[in-house]
Symmetry: C2
């Protein structure tokens, strides 16, 4: 980065989104980066006020930022899927966030629901494709509401789209000690798409002779996440399988309160977007109950993406230290208090 | 059933399939049913010998049986997917096995990988649709092998197909103490199919006023299977989500060695097919290492389906007792020995 301020668009969104984003920003400021945040009130409130989810003018404005920090979108008062599709997924597609990067890492001190699993056994990173597959939104319905209704969904997969995310995943694997890449798909049933994914992995593998490649069906992978998570180092998979397996990953790594993600455009032709994996959790919104850690870890990913590696490492270390301390003093801390504690550590 | 013998088609298949089916048949005979088994050598060996997976004449012959017991199909020597699609999935589709019934139940005495989870918290049944969705096999590829390749897969969902499986699931829920049905889908992204599934559940729910209905996205459901399995009683879901979630279910309920399944045609217009959820496991085939319990529990489902409820209960109880005893004496029993032990219990 040059010495100008980093221009950050902030979309707190709905429910606990606003609460956790506030803590994320606090940490971001405390770690000493020159960040210039601008808030956008996209989400349920604006939708009700104006009927807008993501106006084209706002989309174009967002394009000018260095990065986006998003809390969570979705509210029971809005028809299901509207904010998810027209706001969240639209941002991912318009800004070509073809890498949806989701670390699954058990921090020492966090209780995993898996019995007898040492922290070092759960340390992988899922590279989820973010712009294709069943998320393309194509499909249709005929004779809706009649006994003869037929509804279809289409998974669209292109060599262009698959190859770029597979290459990114190989690069990630290459940079990690174990250098192992596992393709997760369902090649025995989704034969056309599976064949494209498998051939692409085989071809790109030749550029990375040090990386070991493996394959696992999505059903078996779900099982292995629970029974043998140590099998996985870098996982590359399509949009829908990645959606499923990263929530499962969050569960085994101590819960959705700790799961961070980056929607990344590696070529930086548009701003990347960082967000906790969790949703807006309207049931606990406004009560200070949300754990801001997932957002703070997403801030660490954001810093890393912007080349601010030291600041990123500092935030991640502060989180790790904070988590270790939970072993003795977690009970009852509010969203603010966790944010304050981590802020104190990065400022120190 | 009338007093004639039950005509059972047996497809041991590949790998450990043959080993576990032998034990299943032993238990079936010992429990005193009048079963007349006929073996079919479908699977990898026949494919290599004759190039056939499921000849039409054999398919028609199978149609005449009362039920089918299948071990497992698949072998590394056969191109991936060929036996799965042309044999296993073809049977499911041709015999209209629209209910793929998969209990997820933690037997007391079984170690679950989930810490601090009492056995009674894991007791659900997944009703997976078996004849539609992404398993339809439709889709295609264009410009294969070029940088401009595009590969598609289509999920086909019909009101007819969804309604019948949803109604079956409601009936199941109605018959269970908790009377709770959870639809698992991804309605916020798969909007056409999700809408059909959700509307169908809402409509059929009116026929079952005692059943509580719930909804859960597939990603959240994967998380809850690990963190709060007690949320689920009966789960109804589509073919692919059901595939994923039942392997995850097997993992939390003590492993794939115990997971049974029935591919059911409730109207009995064709034979239903019972099989363990596990695959052919070529890596441990022929070594007596496979646990035949999943097959024996599938035999219990088969008996139940044929109306032989007492025999079914007897087999299930024998398995439960055998499992309890594992707490003290499991180590080192072979496939045969487990089969013998359970056989002794049902004969007693
Ligand atoms: C909200 C939803 C559309 C989204 C997705 O399916 O990608 C979420 O589950 C996620 O994983 O970020
Ligand atoms: C072998 C495969 C085609 C099959 C499926 O996907 O249905 C298996 O995973 C299962 O769950 O029975």
């Amino acid at each position: 980065m040059d010495s100008r301020n980093i221009r950050l668009a902030v979309i707190p969104g709905d429910g606990i989104g606003t609460e956790v984003v506030a803590e994320g920003l606090k940490v971001l400021e405390a770690v000493g980066t020159k960040i210039e945040p601008t808030h956008y009130d996209l989400g349920a409130a604006r939708y009700h006020r104006t009927g807008e989810t993501l106006p084209d003018a706002v989309l174009e404005e967002l394009r000018g930022y260095d990065a986006i920090l998003l809390g969570a979108v979705g509210d029971p008062s809005v028809p299901p899927g509207v904010l998810e599709r027209d706001l969240l997924l639209r941002l991912r597609f318009e800004f070509d966030h073809y890498v949806n990067l989701r670390p699954v890492k058990l921090f020492p001190g966090v209780e995993t629901p898996l019995a007898d699993t040492p922290a070092e056994d759960i340390d992988m990173i899922v590279v989820r494709e973010g712009t294709e597959g069943l998320y393309a939104g194509t499909g249709g319905v005929m004779r809706r509401g009649t006994p003869h209704e037929i509804a279809t969904q289409e998974s669209l997969n292109t060599a262009y789209g698959v190859e770029r995310v597979v290459r990114y995943a190989f690069q990630k694997a290459q940079s990690r000690p174990r250098k192992k890449l596992t393709l997760v798909h369902k090649t025995n049933v989704l034969t056309y798409a599976g064949d494209l994914w498998q051939r692409t992995v085989n071809r790109v593998a030749q550029e990375f002779p040090e990386v070991t490649t493996d394959y696992c069906h999505i059903d078996a992978a779900s099982m292995f996440f629970v029974s043998q998570p140590e099998r996985f180092d870098v996982v590359v998979t399509d949009n829908l399988f990645g959606d499923i397996i990263t929530d499962l990953g969050a569960a085994i790594a101590g819960g959705i309160g700790l799961a961070a993600s980056g929607n990344i455009n590696p070529e930086r032709t548009s701003p990347s977007m960082f967000e906790p994996v969790h949703g807006s959790a309207p049931d606990i919104a406004g009560q200070g109950k949300a754990d801001p850690t997932a957002t703070i870890l997403s801030v660490a990913m954001l810093l890393d993406h912007l080349g601010l590696h030291d600041a990123s490492a500092k935030v991640e270390q502060a989180v790790a230290d904070d988590i270790l301390e939970r072993l003795t003093g977690w009970a009852g801390r509010t969203t603010h208090e966790i944010g304050d504690d981590i802020t104190a550590r990065v400022s120190g």
